[in-house]
């Protein structure tokens, strides 16, 4: 009864906390799915950049896959490679990072956190809680989802008196974020709120604030839902009152849906957007996974 | 007399039936050699005869392929890489063995630095270096970087390095090739002093007069074979030369040919100044051989490099066949038919890691290009011709330049410059490290060039060379041309007078 299928999973290399969460969950779900379906083979491959990932997709294809789950390191440059697989009639699930043209010609299923919403939720929270706040922003890497989040944030604070003092890239890297925050603290005598959109970077931001012993910063809004940050929210840390969810586990969701599409013939086409849930002290324990590396 | 002492003196170091091959090519054939305590032993032979190789084998830098080495009568295997120094054997390499980034003091003490409590005793080492240099009469600054030294000064540092070791045996591989007379005689004074204290020397040189003057015995090698060992006193220059070459040598210098007074001026140098050179002017006619003499550091090389476009001129004009050559443009000078052969063959003349062909044609690739691509057969023909013309002898046709014998490198360099077929050629130290036989060939070659209507500037520290070849001789001193001698004026005394600053006359 159990048919033989192969699912290829192509994800970015663990180049920061969030992506390492992706790798963790992909491997975890791969094992789980293979245990559930004896005939199923799941191959997980990581790649450091877009061009390499295009090759990885090709290699997976060479190995004879029936479905592809891909979280592109940089979406637009991967469209052609994905299409090649898709055009052979394989099932394609795209995760998280969407290309500018994200329609049925590229993929069957799109699973994502809501990037614009991630920015918007953060923006709204800040606008509500501190309507006249002066905010500094630390951006990620210069790739489209980062831009989407920025745009979402601007939408979230629109109409309020929240003022963005500065935006600089922190590359989703804690050491870089530490530096940028240190310099913000030098540059601006008064900062109310920091929006750094990523929990990894929040680690650096918090250290910089602590070192400068500055008390004007009221709080920091990060994002993704790493266990460390969710823990802080849960414990009522004053500087981290909330976190915006953007769970790396979404890759697992996509894999489970793909397996379902192969085995159960259930219709799983279309968009599957996870909410950019605001993690607060009240709901935090629902999002706390102490075993995850992220 | 020293000869008698040496006769009875015990043998310190000897070679028994030494053979040496480099990757299958044999360069020493069963050579025997004895060095006695307190003697100065000359090692002579043509370029590529195997002198340097023998010296390296006897100092541990190369291991013999077969045969044995005896130290104080006991067979030894000399440790490599200069470790034989511990046995009292040191060598002054023909190729400099100095690191450009170190200072003179650092070089002198490299590998045997003096420390106090683990800290370098820099003051002490500097003082010691100064002492050794002073003994040798060298003015080199002990703090100067090696890279800033002239080749003569580098040679002095090499010598100082060897002399400062407490050695029983010192090998000197052409130490005087780049030295002035004064420096040479200072060196000889030291060598004699040490010899009298019991140190033995092996002296490799192509300068017969020096060999006659300094050494107690002579060993001659030819094509890697031992030919003869005998006391210097029973030989004369000619017989040594004959032993080396295996034939009789006719007169060293060809007859001079004076160019016609009406012959066109092909090179006009007017009021050239550089950092060191002041207001140098002279002219060269078609078919003329003009010499440049002067003490070391008198600025001959700097002037020639300024003319050849290798240095920028601060002032002055260089006109070649009516065309003004822009300052600091080698290419322009080359195009006008002027070529310059450097005296520094190691660091400026040859690509040591490339083969003969790549070196030979480097400056004249345009001649070997057909429709933009190089023709290997044309290059090979050029190499064959150059080998014949300059008597370049190698046993392995694919050898890289760095492994050729010193003299053959020099010939290759000369051939390389001549490949450009220049109308005017400046040759800086044409015969440095070249054996007598080939010297003669080169002199005739230069003379033939002149008869052919080319003009040659010979810059040389060997006065006989300038005197024997040139119809006019310019003498430089401290950056100035202090005199130009013609005809009967050209003599050693006269040149010395100008060079030492005792006499001066307006430039021609």
């Amino acid at each position: 009864q159990d048919k033989n299928y192969t699912i290829g999973v192509s994800i970015p290399a663990a180049d920061h906390g969030w992506t390492s969460g992706v790798v963790f969950h992909a491997e975890r779900i791969a094992k789980k799915l293979m245990a559930e379906h004896p005939g199923l083979n799941v191959i997980v491959k990581t790649s450091p950049d877009a061009a390499t990932q295009a090759n990885a997709v090709q290699d997976l294809d060479t190995q004879g896959i029936d479905a592809l789950v891909i979280l592109p390191s940089d979406p637009d440059p991967l469209v052609n490679a994905i299409k090649e697989v898709k055009d052979k009639g394989k099932f394609v699930a795209l995760v998280d990072r969407a290309p500018s043209n994200n329609d049925n010609s590229v993929r069957d299923l799109y699973v994502a956190g809501n990037n614009p919403a991630l920015g918007e939720v953060a923006g709204k929270y800040i606008a509500e809680k501190t309507p006249e706040a002066e905010v500094v922003v630390i951006r990620g890497l210069p790739i489209p989802i980062d831009q989407q989040r920025q745009d979402g944030f601007d939408k979230g604070i629109a109409g309020s008196k929240v003022k963005v003092l500065d935006r600089q890239y922190g590359n989703w890297n804690r050491d870089d974020a530490f530096k940028v925050m240190q310099d913000y603290l030098t540059k601006y005598p008064k900062i109310d709120v920091v929006w750094c959109q990523d929990d990894d970077m929040a680690v650096g931001v918090l250290q910089a604030i602590e070192q400068a012993k500055r008390t004007d910063i009221q709080y920091v809004v990060a994002g993704a839902g790493s266990k460390d940050m969710v823990k802080k929210v849960m414990d009522g840390d004053k500087l981290i009152p909330v976190d915006v969810l953007y769970p790396p586990a979404m890759v697992g969701t996509a894999m489970e849906l793909t397996a379902a599409a192969l085995y159960d013939q259930v219709p799983v086409h279309g968009n599957y957007i996870l909410d950019a849930t605001l993690v607060t002290k009240e709901n935090a324990k629902n999002f706390y996974f102490p075993d995850s590396p992220f | 007399m020293t000869v008698e002492i040496a006769d009875t003196a015990p043998v310190v170091l000897s070679a028994r039936r030494i053979c040496k091959s480099f990757s299958g090519v044999q360069v020493l054939f069963s050579v025997n050699f004895d060095l006695r305590a307190g003697e100065i032993h000359a090692l002579m032979g043509e370029n590529g005869a195997g002198k340097s190789t023998l010296v390296k084998v006897l100092s541990g830098f190369e291991q013999p392929s077969s045969g044995e080495i005896l130290l104080d009568g006991q067979p030894v295997i000399l440790p490599p890489n200069g470790a034989a120094e511990a046995l009292g054997i040191v060598i002054i390499h023909q190729e400099f063995n100095l690191a450009e980034h170190l200072t003179v003091t650092e070089s002198l003490f490299l590998g045997r630095e003096v420390t106090r409590f683990g800290v370098l005793d820099r003051k002490y080492m500097r003082a010691e270096t100064r002492k050794v240099l002073d003994v040798l009469g060298s003015h080199v600054d002990e703090n100067a970087l090696i890279s800033t030294l002239s080749i003569a000064d580098k040679q002095m540092v090499e010598i100082a390095k060897a002399i400062s070791r407490d050695a029983r045996v010192v090998f000197m591989d052409e130490p005087t090739a780049v030295l002035s007379r004064e420096e040479t005689s200072m060196l000889f004074k030291q060598v004699r002093k040490l010899r009298d204290q019991g140190t033995s020397f092996v002296f490799v040189s192509h300068k017969l007069d020096e060999v006659m003057e300094l050494t107690d015995r002579v060993t001659v090698l030819r094509d890697g074979q031992w030919i003869k060992t005998s006391p210097t006193s029973i030989l004369d220059g000619e017989s040594i030369a004959q032993l080396m070459v295996g034939r009789e040598l006719s007169s060293l210098y060809p007859a001079k040919v004076e160019p016609d007074v009406d012959e066109e001026v092909v090179l006009r140098v007017s009021s050239v100044s550089t950092g060191y050179i002041r207001d140098a002017s002279f002219e060269v006619r078609k078919g003329e051989i003009i010499g440049f003499s002067g003490m070391i550091g008198s600025g001959r090389t700097e002037l020639m490099e300024a003319i050849a476009g290798l240095r920028t001129r601060l002032e002055g004009e260089v006109v070649i066949k009516g065309q003004t050559v822009p300052s600091g443009d080698v290419h322009a000078a080359n195009r006008c038919g002027l070529a310059y052969m450097t005296k520094d063959r190691k660091s400026k003349g040859l690509l040591l890691r490339s083969g003969m062909m790549a070196n030979l044609t480097l400056q004249s690739l345009g001649r070997h290009s057909r429709h933009g691509y190089l023709s290997p057969s044309s290059e090979a023909a050029a190499l064959a011709k150059a080998k014949r013309r300059f008597d370049i002898r190698v046993r392995d046709g694919n050898i890289i330049a760095g492994r050729m014998s010193g003299g053959n490198q020099q010939k290759l360099l000369l051939a390389k410059v001549m490949e450009t077929d220049p109308d005017i050629v400046i040759i800086d130290e044409p015969t440095r490290g070249i054996d007598v036989g080939t010297k003669q060939q080169i002199y005739h070659f230069i003379s033939a060039l002149a008869r052919d209507g080319r003009s040659i500037i010979v810059v040389s520290s060997e006065m006989p060379e300038v005197i024997g070849l040139c119809t006019r001789v310019a003498v430089m001193r401290e950056g100035h041309i202090v005199g130009v001698l013609e005809g009967d004026e050209i003599s050693e005394q006269e040149i010395m007078r100008y060079a030492a600053g005792l006499k001066k006359k307006a430039a021609a």
């Binding site: 663990a14 790798v23 491997e27 997980v44 491959k45 990581t46 950049d49 877009a50 061009a51 390499t52 295009a54 090759n55 090709q58 290699d59 060479t62 190995q63 390191s73 940089d74 979406p75 637009d76 440059p77 991967l78 469209v79 052609n80 490679a81 290309p99 500018s100 951006r139 890497l141 210069p142 790739i143 489209p144 980062d146 831009q147 920025q150 | 299958g24 090519v25 290798l310 080698v330 290419h331 310059y340 450097t342 660091s347 400026k348 003349g349 690509l351 040591l352 890691r353 790549a358 480097l362 400056q363 690739l365 345009g366 290009s369 691509y373 190089l374 046709g397 694919n398 390389k416 450009t420």
Partner: protein, 334 residues
């Protein structure tokens, strides 16, 4: 042994020497092929090998340029960013649609790309030679500049080829075949053949090697050292442009992260191929082999299913070292 015999013997022996050093990277390659075949039977299939050869095109072509720069004794760290920058310019030009006819537009864009690449290379060359700045620093600077300009052009996002007409037209430049060979492989071969010709058979090539092995000797031989070095940088720029011409139809889009670390890969390919970083000798075919080796290692990792994802980097590193050791011992033994 007569003199003649002797010469022949010598020639034979030294040819062996030369050949072996040049052959060494190919030996390492053969070894990898064997390892690969053991790891996964699909590996040795013609499709897979063609895939690998095809995709090493970008790095291989860039590395051919790097062979010139390195032979001349320099280094270019900016090539990865240059790819991003030049590709961005190309796509922006096409997107601007200044020329209505797609064929003409494409032709103009190709020309423009080549010129842009050459100019970027020229900039590197002039800063290094006229500015007399260590090439490492000079090109690290331009690396920042090209990448920064790309970020700025893309406003932090991606630049994507819009016209589907042109995309269809242009696609075969990467995905097509010529005489049964994928276009990128043909391009690699042609570029390498031309490069080998220039390096080994022209005056300029000799000058490059001379400058790289001793620039003083080159200068005293009347070679315009700075010009030779600058031209090497321009050649590097041209190679980058050619890589871009293949990159754009393949990926159709660029962003500020395009080509990150490609400079390192290109240099590695050059060195694995047997060219010394110190300059003075270039092995163009070795470079291609090096690029192929690097890509193969990644491919084998991907096709092997028993290595933890986390350890791939480590194994890759180990394989490179082992491959080099094999190479060395081969050269030494013989």
């Amino acid at each position: 042994m007569s003199v003649n015999e002797e010469t022949r013997e010598i020639r034979r022996r030294s040819w062996r020497d030369v050949d072996l050093r040049a052959v060494a990277p190919f030996a390492a390659l053969a070894l990898l092929l064997i390892v690969g075949a053991l790891v996964n039977p699909n590996f040795i299939g013609i499709t897979n090998l063609a895939n690998v050869a095809t995709r090493c095109a970008f790095i291989a072509i860039i590395a051919v340029g790097a062979t010139f720069v390195i032979s001349a004794g320099d280094l270019d760290l900016s090539v990865g960013s240059m790819v991003a920058f030049v590709a961005s310019l190309m796509i922006l030009l096409i997107n601007s649609g200044v020329i209505a006819d797609p064929v003409l537009m494409l032709a103009a864009a190709v020309l423009f790309t080549v010129v842009a690449g050459a100019l970027c290379g020229l900039a590197n060359g002039l800063i290094t030679t006229v500015g007399k700045i260590e090439p490492f620093i000079a090109t690290l600077g331009t690396m920042g500049i090209y990448r920064g300009l790309t970020t700025w052009l893309s406003q932090g996002g991606a630049i994507t080829l819009r016209s589907s007409d042109i995309q269809t037209l242009y696609r075969p430049a990467y995905f097509g075949n010529i005489l049964g060979l994928p276009v990128p492989i043909v391009v690699i071969l042609v570029v390498t053949a031309i490069a080998a010709f220039i390096l080994y058979r022209t005056r300029y090539g000799r000058h490059v090697v001379a400058v790289g092995s001793n620039s003083d000797v080159a200068r005293y031989s009347g070679i315009a050292v700075n010009r030779v070095r600058t031209i090497a940088f321009v050649i590097q720029g041209l190679c980058v442009a050619i890589a871009v011409l293949l990159y754009v139809p393949r990926l159709g889009s660029t962003s500020a992260t395009t080509g990150i670390l490609w400079e390192l890969q290109a240099i590695t390919a050059v060195v694995v191929g047997g060219t010394a970083l110190k300059g003075g000798a270039g092995r163009v075919w070795g470079t291609i082999c090096g690029a192929f080796i690097l890509e193969l290692v990644g491919n084998i990792m991907l096709l092997s299913n028993f290595i933890s994802e986390y350890l791939i980097g480590a194994i890759q590193g180990a394989i490179i070292i082992i491959a080099m050791l094999v190479q060395r011992s081969l050269v030494r033994k013989s």
